[in-house]
């Protein structure tokens, strides 16, 4: 099914009595069970106010189209949404709704926040077929509960997102990358603990730690030089966007055989986790707060890592579920039931 309007979509959900498999561009989620419900008919930018740094866009709009419209005004989505199609071996067209539904956030998260932090408004159709609006198009809004955050990363379990409002950011005039040899976690920690407004800190195998500064030209020169003084052996590279795209989209693991795991942790635990993992390869983002592991198929990474502050989840390979604490699980189930009493969205793909 491909509804052409929010009202048509709501009607489809109201009359549905069997599971629905929600689909944006199918680049992030595997196919779910049930009747496919595609958002492609709900497409287009509803409002773009560059002077207010605000965008309102329908959920089925391709991410490329959104980013092109913003680039024309020298603006961007600050959270740098990854495109995971190549990593996951999927060739669909990523949609902005899929970005929101998975809270897809790239390297700039350490400085500008995640997708959920840029989301300021939402419209969605819940499992009862009701159209629900929350948030709005202003940057500060504490009116009522923040269902915008609740829907961010909800993977289609509470409803079908139909429209989103985002807070935007100016595109930086200049980008500089520092490539740092040696202990990557130590380098990233130093960089993020400095006052030099670092907008990315990651690690790529064969390259080393990468640290990014962005902004007005003279300021970028100044900060890059100060960081280079802090980070022995650092090489300053103009631009370096390819490295950030590779890290953001986990390109080194695209086309490689094996499972891919995403581990959220404290940066200070990252080195020990990497040692314990028994993985084939790893990348790091968010200063070491996010580790991507490539492992042999069916390697039990969770057991290898043992207990730590954070979690590990397999995003390529056999379908994986993270065990939540019973209290958190009860709240999740309670919300699923309230928003989707018929269980229409319970069978989403991973």
């Amino acid at each position: 099914m491909q509804p052409q309007s929010e009202e048509e979509l709501a009607e489809m959900v109201r009359s549905a009595d069997a599971p629905l498999a929600l689909r944006g561009g199918a680049t992030r989620h595997g196919p779910g069970a049930g009747l496919a419900l595609e958002t492609g008919g709900l497409s287009g930018i509803s409002l773009y106010e560059p002077g207010a740094l605000t965008l309102v866009v329908r959920a089925g709009t391709p991410l490329d189209q959104v980013e092109a419209a913003l680039a024309a005004e020298h603006q961007q989505l600050a959270f740098e949404p990854p495109r995971l199609g190549p990593l996951l071996g999927r060739d669909g067209v990523s949609t902005i709704g899929g970005v929101a539904a998975t809270n897809a956030s790239g390297p700039r998260r350490v400085q500008a926040g995640a997708c959920r932090d840029a989301m300021i408004g939402i419209r969605f159709v819940d499992g009862r077929g009701e159209v629900i609006r929350n948030g709005g198009r202003v940057m500060k809004n504490v009116t009522g509960y923040d269902l915008v955050k609740l829907l961010a990363g909800s993977r289609g379990r509470l409803g079908v997102i139909t429209e989103l409002a985002f807070k935007l950011a100016p595109r930086p005039e200049r980008v500089v990358t520092l490539i740092v040899p040696g202990d990557p976690v130590a380098a990233m920690t130093k960089a993020l603990g400095s006052p030099y407004d670092v907008t990315g800190a990651g690690y790529l195998p064969g390259i080393g730690a990468i640290v990014r500064v962005e902004g007005l030209s003279a300021s970028v020169t100044y900060r890059a030089e100060r960081l280079a003084a802090l980070l022995p052996g650092a090489e300053i590279v103009e631009g370096g966007q390819d490295h950030w795209a590779a890290l953001r989209d986990v390109l080194p693991f695209a086309g490689q055989v094996g499972d891919v795991w995403r581990v959220i942790c404290r940066p200070s635990d990252a080195t020990a986790l990497i040692e314990r993992a028994g993985a084939e390869a790893h990348l790091m983002d968010w200063g070491g707060g996010l580790i991507w592991f490539l492992t042999e198929p069916d390697h039990d990474l969770r057991t290898a890592l043992g207990s730590f502050q954070g979690h590990a989840i397999r995003i390529r390979g056999a379908k994986d579920h993270l065990p939540l604490s019973p209290q958190v699980q009860a709240l999740n189930q309670g919300l699923y039931h309230q928003f989707d009493p018929k269980g229409l969205f319970a069978q989403q793909g991973a």
Binding site: V138, V142, A218, H311
Partner: protein
């Protein structure tokens, strides 16, 4: 403003309820003498007051859980309270409710610089969170005006902002994890000292839920390295339109100041009389603050100066010293105090799209004139979060009602132009009855369903946020 009739059965059991609480807690943690509970009859929305049934002041998460478990079993409503600085009446009690104040829970549990977080008990004040890390060169970014007094618990409940959130975001963007105690005493850990959790973003919906989903006893907060320096510039304009257009152009140009504050003529006049900050005599004034090294500040200010020039400012005053910086911020920071000298005031908090600023300011002055009242505007212009201050005389019968009616009209106007009722203060009781202006019944129902999951018996802060008629069937 109406509150639900107190539950007579609870009032009749008052002594037994107090005795039950005393059995669970240290002797000094339960207050029921009106001489002592008087201090808890209101928050910073002082127009509304009510003595609670009792006040509890726990020191640990376990004590909080014990209080909530007991009240849940007894069917007694609980009003969570941080430092009591809510401008929206978020912690206004009812006679049949127990106040649960976290003001004694002020500890720092862990400070971790390599991982850039601090773990605190939530009764700690906002400013003392920064106080705990500033010697090492770090700070906690959200900075509500009440930051000297307000508690992190209240900041989380209201998702508080502040002048510097244009760059750093509000509470929800700086909150990594919480320990939440549900009404039935269940202790839940949401998030933690890391970036994200699996499952639904429960942390995101708890932040800003005004103490209706649970009591937050501990929090992991993001801390940031302090910038090398900061400097404000003050600009005067001969019209609100000029100042408003300048704000939009600065934002569009790609400079991201940490703060853009706006004051209109009535506010400038009042603060000058009060604080003598030496502000220019003009229609509208902007204070823009940028951060970085000396060279970076100079680069940003040069760009801002060039943008401002297109809007013919009548004054452009760049701070050249710590003393000049202090004077530029002096008037802005004394604005509320200055209004207090002029009379009683209601502080509104609606947010609008920045592009609507000139229109909204014009409409506010028309509405104000028609109501025969005075309004001064001082607000965070960069994000459209307005703070019209309506001046009235509380001793004159009918004046408060008149001011409230004007406030409601101004908030309707904010919604009508695409904005919202409250940008950082919260709904509380103050804006509860206006929720229907912004939300359909369905929109509100979806929010109530979230509370149904966390607090099925509707005992936590039940008469807030939503119109009483909307929640009546749930409150029982």
């Amino acid at each position: 403003m109406q509150m639900p009739d107190p539950n007579a059965a609870i009032l009749a059991r008052r002594a037994a309820i107090v005795a039950g609480l005393r059995a669970l807690l240290p002797a000094d943690a339960v207050l029921d003498d009106p001489a002592e509970t008087r201090a808890y009859e209101c928050d910073a929305l002082t127009a509304y007051r009510c003595l609670p049934l009792a006040v509890t002041l726990p020191r640990t998460t376990e004590e909080v859980a014990a209080i909530l478990r007991f009240c849940h079993a007894q069917g007694v409503p609980v009003i969570p309270r941080g430092a009591g600085t809510s401008l929206a009446g978020g912690s206004l009690p009812t006679p049949d409710a127990v106040i649960l104040g976290v003001a004694r829970m002020t500890g720092v549990i862990e400070t971790n610089y390599p991982d850039r977080y601090i773990h605190v008990q939530t009764g700690r004040t906002n400013l003392s969170v920064t106080g705990a890390v500033e010697a090492q060169g770090w700070f906690y970014a959200p900075d509500p005006s009440s930051q000297l007094a307000c508690a992190i618990a209240g900041n989380i409940a209201m998702n508080s902002g502040g002048a510097h959130c244009l760059k750093y975001g509000v509470t929800t963007n700086n909150l990594l994890g919480v320990t939440l105690v549900q009404m039935d005493g269940t202790v839940v850990h949401l998030g933690g000292p890391f970036s994200e959790s699996e499952g639904l973003d429960l942390l995101g919906v708890v932040c800003g839920s005004e103490g209706q989903l649970g009591v937050v006893t501990e929090a992991y907060l993001r801390i940031l390295p302090k910038p090398e320096g900061a400097r404000p510039v003050l600009m005067g304009f001969d019209s609100n339109e000029g100042a408003g257009a300048c704000v939009a152009d600065i934002i569009k140009a790609g400079v991201l100041p940490v703060a853009i504050e706006f004051m209109d003529r009535p506010c400038i006049v009042a603060t000058e009389a009060f604080a003598q900050a030496g502000y220019p005599d003009c229609e509208a004034l902007l204070i823009v603050e940028v951060e970085g090294s000396e060279a970076e500040i100079a680069e940003q200010l040069a760009l801002i100066r060039a943008i401002a020039a297109r809007h013919s400012p009548v004054e452009f005053r760049e701070s050249r010293s710590a003393e000049e910086t202090r004077r530029i911020w002096l008037g802005r920071k004394s604005a509320f105090g200055a209004m207090g000298q002029m009379g009683d005031y209601i502080c509104l908090d609606g947010t609008i799209p920045v592009s609507e600023l000139p229109f909204v300011l014009r409409r506010i002055s028309e509405l104000t004139e028609a109501a025969g009242l005075r309004v001064a505007n001082v607000f965070h212009a960069g994000d459209g979060n307005m703070h019209p201050l309506i001046i009235f005389n509380a001793n004159q019968p009918g004046d408060l009602e008149k001011a409230e009616a004007l406030g409601a009209d101004i908030l309707r106007l904010c919604v009508q132009v695409g904005g919202c009722l409250t940008g950082e203060h919260g709904v509380g009781v103050e804006k509860r009855d206006l929720m229907g202006v912004q939300f359909s019944d369905q929109d509100m129902e979806a929010q109530l369903r979230v509370k149904d999951v966390f607090d099925p018996n509707w005992l936590l802060n039940p008469a807030k946020v939503f119109p009483l008629s909307v929640t009546a069937s749930r409150r029982g």
